[in-house]
């Protein structure tokens, strides 16, 4: 007959190992454990883009370990091992990010702790910690991304977490059960009205402390300097830079020059903007609008750039506070754009910029380095001599581009010491930066004030909601020339070389080269030719725009507007008080009942005994969860003979007080005092 069961007393090592120093409490049903593991994994996924990849194996290992403990095959990690794991987690985060501060490292730490906590997941209390940590982690996902699909996904995570929480309170469910997710789903649905009310009514309070939100991710898009010839090949991204909603008709694509930065200074071969201290104070801000013309109203929803500059069409006037118009007709945000930012602008595209040029500005926009690019300067002077006016000169330079064998390419190669000479006379291949830079240098060499403007050109018009989507690959640079009587005139030399770039977009301009988005084979933008994919993409983008402006961008101002429209005059403070007051009215009695009435009141001797345990724990003598007071006292006596008398005495008094028949009040009080004295001796 085969052995059916082991009958010898088990070795103490397997089941007899005490989980060191853990508080007692209810066990975690197996069903809840599976829900917890599922929700942890689900929460890990959206964080992957900003996490080092080792977090995944760490999570899988801890989950495996926890599973083996559940099956009784492995034991809990010892305290030193857990400590070592924590330190290893810190070290790994430090090695991955080079720092423990900042958004990504702290989130990585949080998720590492989230995974490691599995190794302590013994009692219900531990599960509470883990689940509420999970809710918090669900929130942190939105620090990185507020995409609509992600929000739907996180609702799923919320359901998983809540299911874990509910399953935790159903003892005896020792088998995973999908159906136990039904009640949490109903609960979440029931919470929707509350969520909506809170969304519309809860005061949007500014942060109480500022969190360094700046992520370590490299910023893409337009940078604050430009050095043509430095970049052998321009990389493109299909990320959205901003979306624009026009109040009226959308201007033709060739007119959509989104000005972001004005490069007035050429230093060491690189263009840069004027620095704050280089500008005389009267030139800082934009002068009052002069003249009249047709205005163009639009609203820009900009993605985070971690930079100050904003994008607008010609002659912009911000309609929102917090956006400044600078002396060179561009918009500026005093704080870095750390999250999606919306601003309304009114532009006068027909008005002249700076009809009268100040001496300082003329001097600044004419300045060239002493040396460098001699052939370019010579060519400029020669062309100027043959021209009748500055305007004619501009045409001649453009003609020079038009007639030469210039090619528009994103892979121009690196240029040498006199990059513009090399570009104009030898290579004759380049992209917008090269053309704009060479053009401005020729203008300045011939005494015509000129500057480079960087920003975006064009954009994709989404027919679904009539927005213009400007992608990162629409980044562009062009020139502005000051002509007497006309002010600053936009000249785009690239358009001369490659007219498709401006009228049709980058894709058509590069049709021959085939390098459009060559680095992102999966980008949906590459499949614009396929009708239904394109239509799906544009529809989703329209939905995203709506989502961004109505839900993500629902700020205190919009809230106030809405509430005032509904209820008349409302002040934010009244609203806050009303909310807090009603919440307190409902929650305070519930909390009181839960905290006081829900659990038996602790007797004084029990409190005193806890004090004794705390004091001994501070000396490294911790009572194990199942250890009866008498046994504990004997262990203490064996380990620390000097404490033996006091601990034995205190334990004996405590034990008699709790377990012996009730004594008359006077005697009981006397015994309690004795107990207090005995504990005091420790």
């Amino acid at each position: 007959m085969k052995a059916r069961k082991r009958w010898f007393p088990p070795r103490a090592s397997r089941t007899g190992q005490r989980p060191a120093g853990r508080a007692p409490g209810a066990a975690i049903p197996r069903n809840a454990l599976v829900w917890i593991l599922l929700s942890q994994f689900a929460l890990l996924l959206p964080h992957l883009p900003q996490l080092p990849i080792w977090v995944v194996p760490v999570y899988l290992c801890t989950a495996l370990w926890r599973g083996m403990v559940l099956r009784g095959q492995w034991s809990w990690p010892s305290r030193p091992l857990r400590l070592a794991l924590i330190l290893a987690g810190f070290a790994a985060v430090w090695f991955s990010f080079g720092s423990l501060l900042g958004l990504e490292p702290t989130v990585a730490l949080l998720l590492t702790a989230f995974a490691l906590k599995l190794l302590e997941l013994q009692r219900r209390q531990d599960a509470y910690v883990l689940i509420f940590l999970g809710y918090f982690i669900a929130v942190t996902v939105f620090l990185f991304n507020q995409d609509l699909l992600l929000v739907l996904y996180m609702v799923g995570c919320l359901w998983l977490l809540t299911s874990a929480l509910v399953a935790l309170h159903r003892p005896g469910e020792d088998r995973f059960n999908w159906r136990s997710g039904r009640l949490p789903a109903i609960m979440l649905l029931q919470a929707v009205p509350v969520m909506l009310v809170l969304f519309f009514v809860f005061p949007r309070i500014g942060p109480l402390w500022s969190v360094p939100l700046k992520t370590q991710a490299a910023t893409t898009g337009v940078s604050d300097h430009m050095k043509p010839g430095d970049v052998a090949s321009l990389s493109q991204s299909d990320a959205v830079a901003f979306r624009v909603q026009f109040a009226g008709e959308i201007p033709p694509r060739g007119e959509l020059y989104w000005r972001g930065l004005v490069f007035s200074v050429l230093e060491e071969g690189a263009w840069r903007s004027l620095r704050y201290q280089e500008i005389p104070p009267r030139e800082w801000r934009l002068a009052q609008k002069n003249g009249a013309g047709s205005a163009l109203d639009y609203q820009v929803l900009m993605e985070a750039t971690q930079q100050h500059w904003l994008y607008a069409l010609r002659y912009p006037q911000p309609l929102d506070p917090g956006v400044m118009a600078m002396g060179d007709y561009r918009l500026y945000s005093p704080v870095e754009v750390e999250e999606r930012f919306r601003y309304r602008v009114r532009s006068w595209p027909e008005l002249p910029l700076d009809p009268v040029l100040s001496d300082w500005r003329r001097e600044t926009e004419l300045r060239l380095p002493e040396q460098g690019n001699p052939r370019t300067r010579a060519l400029a002077r020669e062309l100027r001599l043959g021209a009748e006016s500055d305007g004619d000169f501009v045409q001649r330079v453009l003609d020079y581009y038009r007639n030469g064998p210039f090619v528009y390419t994103l892979q121009p190669g690196v240029l040498g010491d006199d990059p513009i000479d090399e570009f104009l006379f030898q290579r004759q291949r380049g992209f917008c930066e090269h053309y704009a830079s060479a053009f401005v240098i020729m203008m300045r060499a011939a005494g015509v004030p000129a500057r480079v403007v960087a920003g975006y050109q064009g954009g994709e018009i989404n027919p679904v909601n009539r927005t213009v989507i400007v992608h990162q690959f629409d980044a562009h640079a062009w020139a502005e020339v000051w002509l007497a009587g006309q002010g600053w005139v936009r000249v785009d030399p690239t358009a001369v070389v490659s007219p498709e770039r401006v009228t049709l977009g980058l894709e058509e301009a590069l049709a021959e080269e085939g390098s459009f988005l060559a680095e992102s084979p999966l980008s949906p933008l590459r499949y614009r030719g396929i009708d239904w994919i394109n239509s799906l993409r544009l529809r989703y983008d329209a939905l995203t725009y709506r989502w961004q402006s109505w839900v993500v961008g629902f700020d205190s101002e919009q809230q106030l507007n809405l509430l005032q429209r509904l209820f008349g005059e409302v002040r934010a403070r009244d609203l806050a008080l009303l909310l807090l007051g009603s919440a307190a009215l409902v929650l305070a009695p519930a909390a009181w009942w839960l905290l006081r009435g829900g659990r038996p009141r602790r007797l004084p001797e029990e409190r005193l005994y806890q004090r004794l345990c705390r004091r001994l724990a501070r000396r490294g003598l911790e009572r194990h969860p199942g250890e009866a007071p008498g046994h504990f006292a004997e262990r203490v006596a064996a380990e620390r003979p000097e404490l033996a008398a006091a601990v034995r005495r205190a334990t004996a008094i405590y034990s008699a007080l709790v377990y012996a028949p009730q004594q008359p009040p006077g005697e009981r009080g006397e015994r309690l005092r004795e107990l207090r004295r005995a504990i005091g001796q420790l």
Binding site: P10, R14, T15, P171, R602, Q610, H631
Partner: protein
């Protein structure tokens, strides 16, 4: 201290004379009998199971009978049978060995379930029903059963329902080297005679009943019942347990803890008493879940480790 303390101490000491180095098991066995429970002793052959049961019977001054259970034993062999008496032309009942104060059921798992279950009514209700007539058993009535480990050949494992009627299950285990040496030396002195030193009787049935009555007065505080309740709840909630503690098991635990406290000279139960008897009382009642590697004893140890006697 109470009036029975000397009596009890002497009994423990006396049984300890034949079962060397097994203080705890001897105390537990006495605790079981004082609580009025039946005792199951499980171990390999030759570990002193029968010695212990004989010693207990001698010391407590109980009338005892012994039945060696075999595979062909029938219920009538235990309970008794009516025999036709031609003299007065009627049936007269010949009581079986069960009509005694202490029944030693040796190797109970060698017999068939049918015979095993014949003991059921006797153990649960202190009476037997033979041929439609119910007859009470003498008072007190104890069963001390011994069984071989289940993996030995030719055994019929006791069903859970029957295991549950035993208040405690004890395992004796090998004696420690010192006790074993002492055993050898005693044996050398006595030579190879089969007779063993007779044990002194320490109490009679009346005293035994008095002790049991006194144990009924041992105080159980609310805090202790709380602890018991937490233990029971834990055994029903955890995934490690396929079967938790029944109310009968919990009551047995409480009764045994009371007796244990009384044996220690206390008039109230403390958690240490409960912990002392818990492995013996619950080890054979707890059934591990199919994914748990340990057995019932491991589960009892798990209960002790995870349920805090101190209210937190």
């Amino acid at each position: 201290m109470h009036q029975h303390q000397a009596l009890i101490d002497r009994a423990v000491e006396e049984v300890g004379r034949v079962l060397l180095g097994k203080q705890t098991q001897v105390r537990l066995a006495l605790c079981c009998l004082f609580s009025g429970g039946h005792l199951l002793i499980e171990d390999l052959p030759g570990m002193g199971k029968t010695t212990l049961s004989h010693a207990l019977a001698d010391v407590l001054g109980l009338s005892w009978k012994r039945v060696q259970f075999t595979s062909d034993l029938l219920p009538a062999d235990i309970l008794g049978v009516s025999v036709y008496d031609p003299k007065d032309a009627s049936f007269s009942f010949h009581p079986g060995p069960v009509f005694t104060q202490l029944l030693l059921a040796d190797e109970i798992n060698r017999t068939t379930p049918r015979t095993q279950s014949a003991l059921l009514e006797a153990m649960a209700e202190n009476q037997v029903t033979v041929e439609g007539e119910t007859r009470p058993l003498p008072q007190p009535f104890f069963v001390i059963a011994t069984q071989n480990p289940l993996h030995q050949s030719g055994t019929y494992p006791l069903p859970e329902s029957q295991l549950d009627r035993f208040m405690m299950r004890l395992q004796l285990g090998y004696p420690d080297p010192r006790a074993e040496r002492q055993l050898f030396e005693q044996h050398r002195l006595q030579g190879n005679t089969q007779s063993r030193a007779p044990l002194r009787q320490c109490m009679d049935s009346a005293q035994l009943l008095a002790v049991r009555e006194a144990i009924g007065g041992v105080h159980c505080a609310d805090a202790l019942l709380d602890y018991l309740q937490r233990l029971v709840a834990r055994s029903r909630a955890g995934g490690e347990f396929a079967v938790g503690l029944s109310p009968r098991g919990a009551l047995a635990l409480l009764d045994a803890a009371r007796t244990w406290a009384y044996l220690a000279g206390r008039q109230h139960v403390v958690p240490e008493d409960l912990q002392a008897v818990l492995p013996a009382v619950t080890g054979h009642r707890l059934v591990p879940g199919h994914e748990y590697a340990g057995d019932g004893d491991a589960l009892a140890a798990l209960l002790l480790q995870t349920v805090d006697p101190v209210r937190g």
